[in-house]
Each structure stands twice: as C-alpha cells, then as structure tokens.
C-alpha cells in the first residue's frame, strides 16, 4: 500500500540546514495498523507530513497504492489527499460552526458528491462511530472523545486508502483514549490501513506493528502482539 525508498528531507534554518530524515525505507501492506514512535525531533511528524502529501521529500521514492507521489501541483495534491488519505488530528480540527454531520460531509463536498447523497453517507459514518444522535450538534457541544470520533468519521467518509492519525489520543484522558483506540482497532479489523503517530507506549502497543524513529532513521521495526483496547473500556 505504502512504499518508501531512501527518503531524505532537510530543512533550511538560516545558513545551516537541518537533516531531519536520513534515508527512510519503509513498507506498509494493506490492512496494517502501524504505530510510528519516537521522541520529539525524531522526524516522525515530518514523515507523516510527507506521507500525507503535505510536504515534499528532497529525495527518495514514495509510492501510494501503486501511484508514484512526486512533484505534485497543489491541485493534484489536493485531489490525491482527498482520494487516498484520511487525516485524524490531535486537536480534532473540526470546523466549529458546522454541525457534526456537516463536518463529516466536508470531504465528500470536495469530491463533489451531491448534497443529499453526501448527508446520507455522512450520517452512515456518524452512525458507525456511534454518534448518530449527535448529528446536529456543533463541536462545542461535544466532549473530547466525541469530537475525535466525529473526526474519525470525517476521515473515513471519503473512503480513503490510508488513515493517517497524528497523536489521535494526545488531547484525551486515558479512558477516552482507549475508547478512540478501540474504534481505530475496529476500523482496522474491517481491513483499513492505518498509521498512528504516537509517543505513548500503551497506545503503540494497541497497534500491530511499531516503527521506532530516532534522529531521522528507523532504529526498530517490529510486529507485536496487539493489545485490544476493548478490555479497558
């Protein structure tokens, strides 16, 4: 599903440049649930940005679902993001003047799905994260866990190939974190490919594979026995 070969990325900081990613080789198969771990400055966010087509690599190859991702125009990148990727953010990033339903429907709007169809589909996904009764509520009326579930529904609404979650539990207490991870595991059980960036050990162990980043290189890549979040809920 995802294939990265010898990926390099550096940032110019005035006169000296900061080499953030120093040759990453990395492969993700369909249906995997991968945790990307590392301390701050390890390059995990940069890696996620490149995977999310929000930033370009200096050198190296990136193939997503067989499509080479290189030198994309803004418009093309927007199209690919819409088609291939679903984002889940630490701070949820819901649009606060739109109801839960409208937030979920937003990626479909950019796919030019007709309004009625888009609302039906959004309602379907909202139901899947268990928030159908909250469809007309605005983000300010929802709890943190509910907001993240709306965000997950939004990420899934466009039926992307890969879900990218950047510290999805970072702003949540542990109980809610497990609820969200339970949801992510269930979505993964249905065959969706998910990448989770986290620095929390317990969250990482709820994935099926942990990739450890340190100083711009992968220092450890292991498959693990998944801890089901269900038991903590």
């Amino acid at each position: 599903m995802i294939e990265i070969k010898d990926l390099h990325k550096s940032y110019k900081m005035g006169s000296n440049s900061l080499h953030v990613l120093k040759g990453i080789n990395f492969k993700v198969e369909e249906g995997e649930l991968v945790a990307i771990m590392g301390s701050s400055g390890s390059g995990k966010s940069t890696l996620l940005n490149i995977l999310g087509m929000l930033d370009g690599a200096d050198s190296g190859e990136y193939t997503l679902d067989g499509v080479p991702i290189k030198n994309l125009s803004e418009t093309k990148a927007a199209q690919y993001r819409n088609k291939f990727l679903g984002f889940i953010f630490q701070s949820f990033n819901l649009i606060n003047y739109k109801s839960a339903l409208e937030n979920v429907a937003l990626p479909l709007y950019y796919q030019k799905v007709p309004r009625k169809e888009r609302q039906e589909k959004a309602m379907q996904y909202l139901d899947r994260v268990g928030l159908k009764p909250w469809a007309t509520h605005h983000p300010s009326e929802l709890s943190g866990g509910q907001k993240q579930r709306v965000a997950i529904a939004r990420a899934m609404a466009a039926e992307p190939k890969v879900l990218l979650a950047d510290e999805p539990t970072g702003a949540l207490d542990s109980k809610t974190s497990y609820e969200v991870m339970d949801l992510i595991q269930k979505i993964n059980d249905e065959g969706n490919t998910i990448l989770v960036v986290t620095h929390e050990e317990d969250i990482a162990h709820m994935c099926k594979r942990i990739v450890h980043l340190k100083d711009g290189v992968i220092v450890e890549d292991k498959k693990i026995e998944q801890v089901r979040a269900e038991q903590y809920v």
Binding site: N49, E74, R81, F87, F89, Y97, K98, Y109
Partner: protein, 409 residues
Amino acid sequence: MFDRDVWQEIFNTIKTNKLRTFLTGFSVGWAIFILVMLLASVNGMQNGFTNQFNDDATNSIFVRPGTTSKAYAGFEAGRRIQLKNDDIEYIKRSFPEDIEYISARYYANGTARYKSETGSYSIQAVLPEDQIIEKTLVMAGRYINEADQVNKAKVAVIGRKVAEDLFKKEDPVGNFVEINGLPFRVIGIFTDDGDDNAERRIHAPLSTYQRIYGNTNDINTIALTYNPTYDLAKALEFSGRLEDLMKRRHKIDPEDQAGLYVWNYAEAFENISSFTAVLKGIGIGVGFLILIAGIVGIGNIMVFTIKERTKEIGVRKALGARPRQIVNLVLLESVFITAISGFVGLLFAWIILAALGPMFQTPAFSNPSVSASTVITATIILIIAGVLAGLLPAMKAANVKPIVALSDK
C-alpha cells in the same frame, strides 16, 4: 457560486465579526454614498444651468454694440457703435436661410403709475417676434403684434410682478398705466420661467419708444434665433459670418473684440457642457479615491479573516480542498461584503436625493438626482472593487500550507 456551504461559511464569518464587518462595510458604503451624492450634485448644477438657459431660446444669438478699441478704415479708436433699425433689415436680407426669428430691443427705465400705486421698472421696447426669442409666456391678454408696431401704439405688456404691484386685485388688461407720464393701455400680462426679475419688466412696441425718445432709429440690441436644425458647428459658423458682416457694415476692425459683441448661446451652452463634464470627472475622481480607501479596508478585513482561519483553511486543504475553491470562497465573501455595503450606501443616497432633491430649485442648482446609468455603473464598480479587495487575501489563503493545520498543536 450558489452553493449552500459557501454561503454558510460567508455568513458565519460575517456573524462572528459583526462589528468589524460593519465598520469596513461602512467605509465602502460611505464611499459610494459620496460618489453618488457628488454625481447627483453635478447633475443638479447641470439641471440648474440648463433651466437658466431655457429662459431664452437655446438657438438664440444677441448682437450688442460696443466701443471700438482699434483704429480702422480711417476711424479712430474709441468710437461708439450704434445699431439702427436698418441693421435688422440688412441682417434679414443677408441671411434669409439662417434666421428663424429676429427682434430689436430698446432699453429704457420708467416710472409706472396706476391710481395711487407707482413703481420703477425697466422697459424693454421690442418687435413682436421677441416673444418667441425670449420664450415669454403670456398669461392674460396678448403680446405686441405687427399692428402695434406699425401704428406706434401706446400699448404695454406687463410682467406678472408689475401687475401685482400696481393693480393689486384688479384686472390690468384693458386698463391704462401711466409710464413716465404717458398713458399706455395694458394689453397683456406675461410670466417668465427664468427669474422674478424678468417679471418686473414692461414690454412695449419698439416703434412707440423710438418715437417717444426723439424719433430715433436707434436700437440697443438685436436678438435673433437661427435655424433650429443647425448643430453646434453650423451655429458657430453662422454667428461668425454674422459677426464678420456686422463688423464690415459698421467699419470695425475684424480683430477688434470691443466694437461689437455677438453672443451665441450655443457657445455658452457648449462651455457649460464641458464645464459640467469636468465637474463630473472630478466628482467621479474624488469618489473613486474615497472608494479606494474602502477597498483597502475590505482587503484588510479579509487578511485578518484569513489569518484567523489559517488553521481551518489548512484542514480544508488536508481534506482535499483545491486552491481554486479557497480563492473563490474568499473572493465571494469580499464581493458580498462590498456589494451589500455599497448598495446600502447607494440606497441611502437615493433616499436622501428622492426626499430632498426636489426642494432644491435655485437658479444654479436644481433637482439633483441619480440616473439608472449611475446606479449600474456603481454596481459594476462595486463588484470590481470587491474582487480587487479580495484578490490578495485570496491568494494568500490559497497559499496556506496544510502543514500548519497539522503541526499546530
């Protein structure tokens, strides 16, 4: 463009920043208000001028004698020129094609008395055709006719004010008014659209007055109207020919500006037209300059809005919003605010003009108003202004990197 989501977003931004939107919108509304008021004022001035000129037929030419300033044909400078009755015949004979009506005038002052009422009035002794040239409206009785002229009849057509002053509630027509001691029969009363002063005059036959003043043939002014089918160029050409001819007849140097005055209304009319055109230009210019301030204001609010919504725009881009869609959103919002506030300004100006405009009826200023073309122009200007105001901020918004949304923790 008529997407519910787009409008929802625009209304939301406006709703969350009510005061800010109002203040910036106000600057645009104010600018349009001033622009429209300026144009309406120029319009009012134009109306005023036109009305003043309508007092006399707009195709009229006046010939007045002066004093020569140059020696010519054996005559010294400083010679007074005197027009005579035969000048009229001469002009008539010389320009049979060009002249529509012609009249000569002889001016005098007189004290008029009826019973115990007296008053001092200017007396204008004229030929019958003067009525048409000066657009004199007879409201009772009749004007001077050919018979009066031939018979040197002591008849008078008095202005409305004169009738009010002297006759109070009596009907003047048929009664005798004493002018400088001589009885004149009042044959009519006239009004004049131009001004009240014209209505304080007394018209009498030219021949009558020439006899009273010592059997002269002297006249003070020749007034005539030319063929109304003439356009400006032809009218000017005709008055040029007339001037040349009269100067030759009275032996005035063709270059002498003081010997004879030929005053063509068409010329003045043209001057007024170009004058008001310049005023209009200035009005539009000033209005535009003020509008620019408004546009900058709108641009400013849009920059702020985008700064505040950077994160949201980033999220949208992460969800697949194309740069075009972001640009459209910002532009539409800008055009919307500009157009609405501009229309409010336009509406206010229009209401004020509709309410107060008809109250202005002074000679130099009358009925200021806006035409449909002004409204349409203003609308187009507003939409362009909105686009201009939104353009830079929109491009800024389109360049927002979605990374911002992600990295902002």
